[in-house]
């Protein structure tokens, strides 16, 4: 990138009120630093503590999704992803893009689609039911309790939306885009 292009990129990020945009490895120290940054920016820009807490919560759930579920690019590497927090005229948006294995897509669709069609009361009821389900929380997509997506749905002010896009030349992987509007 030329310096002028970088300057346009920076100006664009400012005009679109990008609080945070990160693309790269999601190691524990990186996630900790990103979390601190998001907190600070929200303390400065969120209209009240309740909104700040909701945006922060959506950010944490998405960042930890990447850490737990995105396949690393090579055997000893960290998972990778892109996380963006922006502020619009009326709402904040938290958007996450990361690779997922094709064999996990069915499960992801099933869960997010179920949550997307629920009313807030249904989300709360499903959240309670998951909480009381004695199956222990584990780290795998196939065994997880689904509290993560339900938490995201509770924080959001509109149904969470997503896309799953095939990756050219990577038959085992797809790109998962997830957005929560708060």
């Amino acid at each position: 990138m030329e310096p002028a292009e970088i300057d346009r990129f920076r100006a664009d990020a400012r005009d679109k009120q990008v609080l945070l945009h990160y693309s790269g490895e999601f190691s524990a120290p990186v996630v900790a630093t990103l979390s601190d940054t998001v907190r600070e920016k929200l303390d400065d820009s969120a209209p009240d503590r309740r909104i700040a807490r909701r945006v922060f919560s959506a950010f944490v759930e998405m960042a930890q999704n990447v850490v737990h579920y995105a396949p690393p690019e090579n055997a000893d590497g960290f998972p990778r992803g892109t996380l963006t927090v922006t502020r619009g005229p009326a709402h904040f948006a938290v958007v996450c893009c990361n690779r997922v294995r094709n064999d996990q897509i069915g499960r992801i669709r099933e869960r997010v689609d179920a949550v997307r069609t629920m009313t807030l009361d249904e989300i709360k009821a499903a959240y309670r039911a998951q909480l009381r389900n004695d199956e222990p929380d584990t780290e795998g997509v196939s065994k997880g309790a689904g509290l993560g997506f339900l938490t995201l749905a509770r924080e959001a002010s509109a149904p969470i939306d997503y896309r799953i896009v095939p990756v050219a030349g990577e038959p085992d992987d797809a790109e998962f885009h997830l957005r929560a509007i708060i």
Partner: protein, 130 residues
């Protein structure tokens, strides 16, 4: 047992387990990347406290959390479950659940715990800037 103090970090709460006052306290933030690893020793410390002979005279617990993530949720609820089992055996257990008046989610979570674990003397406490 000796008193246990685990200091808070940005992502994990402060933990205090004090056998002299028979009290347990969890306060701050809880969004560790590996919540199971963080809460395993906390459970053990609480179990030890609850098995002290003086636990029969009553136990006090304080939960003062600003924020917790989804993977901490079940583990925090499990701590309340441990207190509840002792209360169901006839021990007086007072659990204080502090929440910011603006934090409806934290309040609802506490109300659900209060309904579910009804052997506890469960007290909801509004506290500014928890």
């Amino acid at each position: 047992m000796t008193a246990i103090h685990i200091p808070a970090t940005k992502e994990t709460p402060e933990v205090l387990v004090d056998p002299t006052t028979m009290s347990f306290r969890l306060s701050g933030e809880s969004y560790p990347e590996n919540a199971i690893a963080f809460y395993a020793p906390v459970r053990n410390h609480l179990e030890t406290l609850l098995s002290q002979p003086s636990a029969n005279d009553g136990v006090e617990a304080h939960f003062s959390l600003r924020y917790f993530n989804s993977s901490s949720t079940k583990l925090i609820r499990a701590l309340i479950g441990m207190l509840h089992r002792r209360a169901a055996e006839g021990v007086r257990v007072i659990a204080h659940w502090y929440h910011d008046p603006d934090d409806d989610m934290m309040a609802e979570f506490g109300e659900d715990l209060k309904d579910e674990f009804d052997a506890l003397d469960f007290r909801m406490i509004e506290a500014e800037g928890v």
